[in-house]
C-alpha cells in the first residue's frame, strides 16, 4: 500500500502547502508514490487516518486549533512542520508582544464575535514534532528532499548553517561589507539560496535562526551599523521573531531600551 500523506492547515497563508503544487515537474510522480489521503486544498475527498506522514502548516492561534493539533498528532506516525508559522509561530506571533483584545478592536467592529488565543505559537509547543522544515515559504526542493528521505525510511537531514556560507558560494557581493546595509544573513539558516543579497538587499530572516547563530556578535554588528534599540528589535521580531535565540536577543535589547528611557 502507498504511504498515506496528509497536509493540515492552521493559521497561515497557504504558501507552504502550495509548494507541493508548485513542484510541477515532480507532482505527478509524487502522486504515483504516495496517496494524498488528506489535502483539502487539492482534493475534495478526505480519508480518515492514521497517516504515515502529516505535513502541518500554520501556527496555533485558536482554542479549536489547540485541540485539533492533538488529534492530528494521535493519527500520525511522522509529523513534519512546514514553514515559519508552524515552526516558529509566524508573522502573526507579533501579537505575543501585544494585547490581542486591542488587535481585535483594530480589525473588527464587533470584536466579541472573534474567538482567538492571546498568542500564536509553533506546533512544537503543543505536540511532539518529528521534523521541522524552515522557511517563509519553505523551499520546494527541500520539501521534495524530505519526502524522498522519508519514503526511503531515512531520517531527513538539511543544513543548519548560516546564509553567509551559501551567499559566498553563490558569488554575491556582501551587502554588509560592501554597502553597509543591514542583513540578517549571519544569523539566519540557509535554505533560500541566499536570495536577498542576490537581489541587492539584506536578508530579512525567512528561514529562522541558524543552528550556531552568534547573537552577541550579531548585536554588535548591528550596533556598528547604527541599528540599535527598537530598530534592532523590530528587525529581529518579524517572520520568525518568536523563535528562541531571536526572541531572547530582541527582548533583552527592548528591556535595555526601556531602562534607558
Amino acid at each position: 500500500m502507498k504511504p498515506r500523506i496528509a497536509v493540515f492547515k492552521f493559521a497561515s497563508c497557504d504558501g507552504c502547502q502550495l509548494q507541493f503544487l508548485n513542484a510541477e515537474d515532480e507532482l505527478l510522480t509524487l502522486a504515483s508514490l504516495v496517496e494524498f489521503a488528506y489535502f483539502t486544498e487539492a482534493r475534495s475527498r478526505a480519508l480518515d487516518g492514521p497517516y504515515d506522514i502529516a505535513f502541518v502548516e500554520g501556527s496555533i492561534t485558536t482554542p479549536d486549533d489547540a485541540r485539533r493539533i492533538i488529534e492530528v498528532r494521535e493519527r500520525t506516525r511522522y509529523l513534519v512542520t512546514i514553514g515559519a508559522c508552524a515552526t516558529a509561530g509566524g508573522i502573526q506571533a507579533l501579537r505575543n508582544w501585544s494585547e490581542v483584545e486591542q488587535y481585535k478592536r483594530v480589525v473588527y467592529p464587533s470584536p466579541e464575535f472573534i474567538s482567538t488565543l492571546s498568542t500564536s505559537t509553533p506546533i512544537s509547543e503543543h505536540v511532539k514534532v518529528d521534523f521541522e522544515l524552515w522557511g517563509c515559504p519553505i523551499d520546494k526542493h527541500q520539501l521534495i528532499d524530505v519526502v524522498r528521505s522519508l519514503l526511503s525510511r531515512a531520517k531527513p537531514a538539511l543544513p543548519g548553517h548560516s546564509v553567509c556560507m551559501e551567499c559566498k558560494r553563490r558569488g554575491n557581493v556582501c551587502v554588509v561589507v560592501a554597502r553597509g546595509e543591514p542583513c540578517l544573513g549571519p544569523v539566519t539558516r540557509t535554505g533560500c539560496g541566499a536570495l536577498c543579497p542576490a537581489y541587492d538587499r539584506g536578508c530579512y530572516g525567512c528561514f529562522g535562526p541558524a543552528d550556531d547563530a552568534n547573537m552577541e556578535a550579531f548585536t554588535r554588528l548591528m550596533a556598528s551599523q547604527g541599528i540599535t534599540g527598537m530598530d534592532a528589535v523590530r528587525r529581529l521580531r518579524s517572520i520568525n521573531g518568536y523563535v528562541r535565540p531571536w526572541r531572547e536577543t530582541a527582548d533583552a535589547i527592548a528591556k535595555n531600551q526601556n531602562q534607558n528611557d
Binding site: K9, A11, S12, C13, D14, G15, C16, Q17, L18, L21, N22, E24, L27, L28, A31, F36, T40, E41, A42, R43, S44, R45, A46, T61, T62, D65, G90, I91, Q92, L94, R95, S98, V100, Q102, Y103, K104, V106, V107, Y108, P109, S110, F113, I114, T116, S120, C136, P137, C192, G193, L195, C196, A198, Y199, D200, R201, Y204, C206, R234, S238, I239
Partner: protein
C-alpha cells in the same frame, strides 16, 4: 439522512475543499424556503492591520506578502502603490512595465492553479487534479506547464514565486538585464499555444447555464487592460477615483465569519475578479484574445458566474501576450527604485489581484512609521455575492442527496476562486432542512 417529509433540513459542508484557506457553509431550509444561509469563514484571524501599526512602511511589502501564499505579488503591488501615492513618488516607465510583467506572472500562475487543480476536477467528475491526470493527463500537464511559466516570471523579478523578495516602495531592489528577460521568451511562445488550447478546453466544459443579476466592479484604465492603475468602474455606472472607494463601498461584520463583508452602499452585493474585468474591459484585451473569446460561444459580457473559468483562461492568454510585449520592448530603467523622503500622510491604492480588486489604505507618521492600515481583499468583496448565488441555487437542490448538494454548492463558490487565507477564512456545508 434527513427525510424529505421533515419540515426542516440542514445542509452542512464542514470543510470546503479545493479552495485556498478554510471555510464552511451552513444552510437551513424550512418547508423548501431558505431560513438561514451562512458562508462561514473560520480561518483564524492573523491581524495584519493591527500588527502593521508601529512597523516601518518600508517593511510593509515583505510583511503583507505573507497574507497570501498564492497572490503575494498582489499584496506587494497594492502596498507599494499606496505608499508611493503617500510619499508622492513618480515611477520610471520601465519599472512600471516590469511591475506589469510581475503581475502577468502571478495571474498566469494563480489562474492556472485554479483552472486545473481547483476547478476543472468538478467538470470532469474527479476529486482532485491527481485523478484528473488519470483521465486527461495531457490537459493536466499543459496546466502544469502554464503554471510553471507564471512562477518563472515572478521568480525572474523576485527570486522565488511564493513571497518573492524584489519589490519595494519606489520600484524593485534589482532589475533584470534585457537578456535575462529574453530567457523567458521561448517558454512564453510555447505557452501561448497551450493557453489558447486551455481556453478551448474549458469552453467545452458543461457549464451550468444561469443568468444572475450581478453588478460587476473592476478597475478601468484609459488604454490598457487593468492591473496596477485605473478608475473604479461598475456595470451599473460607478466611475470613481481610487481614493473615493470609501464613498462607494462599505465593510461590515457578521457574527459567523472572520472575514468582513464588503458591499456597495445602498445597493449591496457586487462581483470582482476575472469575469468582472473581462466584462468591463473587453475592448482592452487586444484582437487575439478577443477573437479567442468570441470563439468560445459565450456572449460577452457574461452574467453567468460559471463562465468565470473561461474568463480566467482568457486572462492567462492575455497575460502571456502582454508579457511578450513587455519583454520585447524592455529597456532597463536608470535606477531600480526611485528615491523618496519619508513623511506623514495618507495614501491608498487598488490593484487587480488574480481574484479581483484589492484595496489598501495607510497612514504614516513623519518617520514613515505606519499609524493605521486597512486592507480589503477580493474575497471579502465577493462574499455577499457568493451568498446571493447560493440563495438562487439552493431551492433547486432540495431533492438532491447531500453529496450532490455539497458538490453543487462548492462549484458555485469556486466560481469566485475564493482565497480564504486572504479574507481570513473555506467551506463546510451545513444545510438544515
Amino acid at each position: 439522512m434527513p427525510s424529505r417529509r421533515t419540515k426542516t433540513r440542514t445542509i452542512n459542508v464542514s470543510n470546503l475543499a479545493r479552495v485556498e484557506g478554510e471555510g464552511a457553509l451552513h444552510i437551513r431550509l424550512r418547508g423548501g424556503e431558505i431560513s438561514e444561509l451562512k458562508l462561514e469563514i473560520f480561518e483564524p484571524p492573523r491581524f495584519f492591520e493591527a500588527f502593521l501599526r508601529g512597523r516601518d512602511s518600508r517593511e510593509a511589502p515583505d510583511l503583507n506578502a505573507r497574507i497570501c501564499g498564492i497572490c503575494p505579488v498582489a499584496y506587494q503591488m497594492s502596498t507599494v502603490h499606496a505608499f508611493e501615492r503617500l510619499y508622492g513618488i513618480t515611477i520610471d516607465p520601465a519599472v512600471r512595465a516590469l511591475r506589469r510583467l510581475y503581475y502577468c506572472g502571478e495571474w498566469i500562475e494563480s489562474h492556472a492553479l485554479h483552472i486545473h487543480m481547483l476547478s476543472a476536477p468538478d467538470f470532469m467528475g474527479c476529486d482532485s487534479v491527481i485523478t484528473l491526470a488519470e483521465k486527461d493527463r495531457a490537459a493536466v500537464e499543459r496546466g502544469l506547464r502554464i503554471k510553471q511559466l507564471g512562477n518563472a516570471i515572478v521568480a525572474k523579478l523576485g527570486g522565488r514565486s511564493v513571497h518573492p523578495v524584489g519589490a519595494c516602495i519606489g520600484g524593485f531592489t534589482r532589475v533584470p538585464r534585457r537578456e535575462e528577460l529574453a530567457e523567458l521568451r521561448e517558454a512564453l511562445m510555447r505557452e501561448r499555444d497551450d493557453a489558447l488550447e486551455c481556453v478551448r478546453w474549458v469552453a467545452r466544459f458543461d457549464l451550468p447555464a444561469v443568468e444572475r443579476d450581478i453588478e460587476f466592479v473592476s478597475l478601468r484604465h484609459p488604454d490598457e487592460y487593468p492591473m496596477n492603475e485605473g478608475r473604479i468602474v461598475s456595470s451599473r455606472g460607478i466611475d470613481a477615483a481610487q481614493d473615493e472607494f470609501d464613498a462607494w463601498f462599505e465593510e461590515s461584520q457578521v457574527p459567523y465569519s472572520n472575514a468582513l463583508h464588503s458591499k456597495i452602499k445602498a445597493r449591496g452585493a457586487y462581483f470582482v475578479g476575472p469575469l468582472a474585468r473581462i466584462n468591463l474591459n473587453f475592448d482592452r484585451l487586444g484582437t487575439e484574445v478577443q477573437s479567442a473569446a468570441r470563439q468560445t460561444q459565450i456572449a460577452w459580457p457574461s452574467s453567468n458566474p460559471y463562465t468565470s473559468i473561461v474568463a480566467r483562461a482568457l486572462e492567462v492568454l492575455y497575460a502571456i501576450e502582454e508579457a511578450l510585449r513587455i519583454i520585447d520592448t524592455y529597456e532597463p530603467p536608470s535606477a531600480p527604485a526611485a528615491k523618496f523622503e519619508l513623511r506623514a500622510g495618507t495614501g491608498c491604492a487598488i490593484t487587480e489581484a488574480p481574484r479581483g480588486a484589492l484595496y489598501h489604505a495607510y497612514e504614516t507618521d513623519e518617520r514613515g512609521v505606519i499609524r493605521s492600515a486597512r486592507i480589503v481583499p477580493p474575497t471579502s468583496q465577493n462574499q455577499a455575492r457568493i451568498e446571493a448565488d447560493l440563495r438562487e441555487l439552493i431551492p433547486q437542490l432540495i431533492e438532491r442527496s447531500h453529496v450532490e448538494a455539497t458538490r453543487a454548492c462548492e462549484m458555485a463558490i469556486r466560481n469566485y476562486d475564493p482565497c480564504i487565507s486572504c479574507s481570513t477564512h473555506f467551506l463546510r456545508l451545513e444545510i438544515e432542512r
